[in-house]
Amino acid sequence: MAIDAATVRKVARLARIAVPEERLDPMAQELSGILQWIEQLAEVDTDGVEPMTSAVAATLPLREDVVTDGGDSSRVLSNAPRTVDGFYVVPKVVE
């Protein structure tokens, strides 16, 4: 399926990536090329085929619902762009 500049703008917004106006058309062409190549999957008969969800069959393990880590805010915050008094500092979320 070919996608147009408007679709790229919408998808880029969903993905939270700023795409400059002049890149929308070239990006639409690139993505359309890839999606058209992917379209060949339509040839494969998948009626009644269960989708694969894991490469090697395994059930997800459960563990005790107890605290195993934490209580170390300095390590958690050590890579933060901005912190104050043991808190992350982020742009205003609610106007």
Binding site: L14, A15, A18, T46, V56, N79, P91
Partner: protein, 490 residues
């Protein structure tokens, strides 16, 4: 460089145990080799002080008789692995300021066994690429050149730094990761050995995530035996990764050199693609003859959905990547760009932090997962993936392992293929099937093409049957007698 850097990992372990040299001597020789090889751009961070400190500790353990199975051998670590207190970036600008406060399970396992870290290795950004050209630190250069030429060639990707460093004798082995072929294709391009184990053998904990249902760690090494030594240390069940398989890790080393007599080797007829050089076809036939001579029975098999593996991969991998990479929001770690409001901060951070190929894949992934398209793309791809896995299950009824080429070409020039994303994706046509099916697969150097560049053969095994894969790879290595090294120009 010195004789110490031309050793295999096994040779170095023997020398350390017999006290022919110390880990400090061995490590210093490699530190010097790394410094002298900056033209290859294989390392994005050199950690010589840490390496020598680890080497001194290893020498103390060797002296006191407490040596681990990798005691004192210097390795390179792909920058996708989080290393405690050592910058880990996935070669992306969005993580350039990131210093983990924890150690990935795989590197922790290697260090538990006494390995020494020389530094962090270059790679495609977030492991998305087949030529190392998407790295924020610039491409790695392959130590190999065509006969009489001086054009810079790609070492392949995404584990290009790992492959280049091992091929150039900068380290005795390296960690790598493989989502669609990122261990095996670079190994083939550089005359090294690389194995992607069964999905779930190695813990993914602490490895920067790309496509979680496909990502697996493995080693790149100089020999099949070295790869077996490294994988034995790297693998193992880890409760911190829910997809890590709760199975014992065998010692893989005894499988190397084991007779392959009586094994049935499948040759999949679909692994012939248009435009594949005749030399690769000829090498494949040679590999078949080598295994026949070693007592294997050769069986033609069919994997009819092979051609659909790459398109399925380019739905599944970008979909999972778009989800995994949503965490890079500029709030808790990594780059934060300015913006007029919160949304703009997110959008500018991600626009500045991610490179073009990563953005392309995030957008594809976001599109195929967006409302109304999930069934047509992601669900369809997961059904095709099941068909590909079923093809292998059918093949295992008549054979014990498969032999294929690793890549459809030898190493190509940097810049030659990055204009067309699909042309680049086709590099992984023979490797991506086993990521989708979760199977172990290895690349072994098997010969040189007419231009003097290495070519690899791939052996694929049943899930959790790395043992047979190592045995067949060992037989190929022995028959090929591949000893060529890149002539030193760096």
């Amino acid at each position: 460089m010195s004789d110490l850097t031309s050793l295999t990992l096994k040779g170095a372990l023997d020398g350390l145990r017999s006290k022919a040299f110390s880990s400090v001597e061995l490590t210093q020789a490699h530190v010097d080799a790394v410094e002298a090889a900056r033209a290859l751009n294989a390392f994005v961070l050199e950690t010589p002080d840490k390496a020598l400190e680890m080497a001194r500790a290893a020498d103390r353990r060797i002296a006191s008789g407490e040596a681990g199975r990798l005691e004192g051998v210097p390795l390179g670590i792909k920058d996708l692995f989080c290393t405690e207190g050592v910058r880990s970036t996935a070669c992306s600008n969005i993580l350039t300021p990131f210093v983990p406060t924890y150690e990935s399970t795989v590197t922790a396992n290697l260090f538990r066994d006494g390995a020494v870290m020389l530094g962090k290795l270059n790679m495609d950004e977030f492991a998305m690429g087949s030529s190392n050209e998407t790295s924020a630190f610039g491409p790695v250069v392959n130590p190999w050149r065509i006969n009489g030429g001086n054009q810079a060639l790609t070492p392949g990707g995404s584990s290009g730094g790992s492959a280049s460093a091992v091929a150039a004798d900068l380290c005795l082995g390296a960690t790598a990761t493989d989502t669609g072929g990122s261990i095996r294709q670079p190994a083939a391009f550089t005359g090294t050995v690389g194995i992607k184990p069964t999905y779930g053998r190695c813990s993914r904990w602490g490895i920067v995530a790309f496509a979680s249902s496909l990502d697996q760690a493995g080693p790149i090494a100089k020999t099949v035996e070295d790869a077996a030594i490294l994988l034995t240390s790297m693998a193992g069940h880890d409760p911190k990764d829910s997809t890590s398989l709760p199975v014992e890790t065998p010692d893989f080393v005894p499988f190397v050199g084991k007779s392959v007599k009586g094994l049935r080797i499948g040759v999949p007829k679909e692994y012939r693609v248009d435009g594949m050089p005749a030399e690769i076809e000829a090498l494949w036939q040679q590999g078949i003859e080598w295994l026949r001579d070693a007592g294997c029975e050769i069986v033609e098999v069919s994997l009819p959905h092979t051609k659909y593996a790459l398109p399925a991969y380019y739905i599944v991998a970008p979909a999972e990547a778009s989800s995994n990479l949503a965490r890079y929001d500029g709030m808790r770690y990594g780059l934060r760009a300015e913006g007029a409001n919160l949304t703009e901060v997110y959008e500018n951070t991600r626009a500045q932090g991610f490179g073009e190929e990563v953005k392309r894949r995030i957008l594809i992934g976001t599109y195929v997962l967006s409302a109304g398209y999930y069934d047509a793309y992601y669900l369809k791809a997961q059904k095709v993936r099941r068909r590909i896995a079923d093809d292998f299950d059918e093949a295992w009824k008549t054979c014990d392992a498969l032999l294929t080429p690793t890549a459809p070409s030898a190493a190509f020039a940097l810049g030659e293929r990055n204009a067309d994303p699909i042309a680049m994706y086709l590099n992984d046509v023979f490797t991506v099937t086993t990521n989708l099916a979760g199977l172990p697969s290895i690349s072994v150097p098997a010969g040189l093409d007419a231009q003097g560049l290495p070519l690899g053969l791939q052996v694929i095994g049943r899930a959790l049957d790395e043992g047979t894969v190592f045995s067949v790879a060992g037989a190929l290595e022995k028959a090929a007698g591949f000893r060529a090294k890149a002539e030193r120009w760096w």
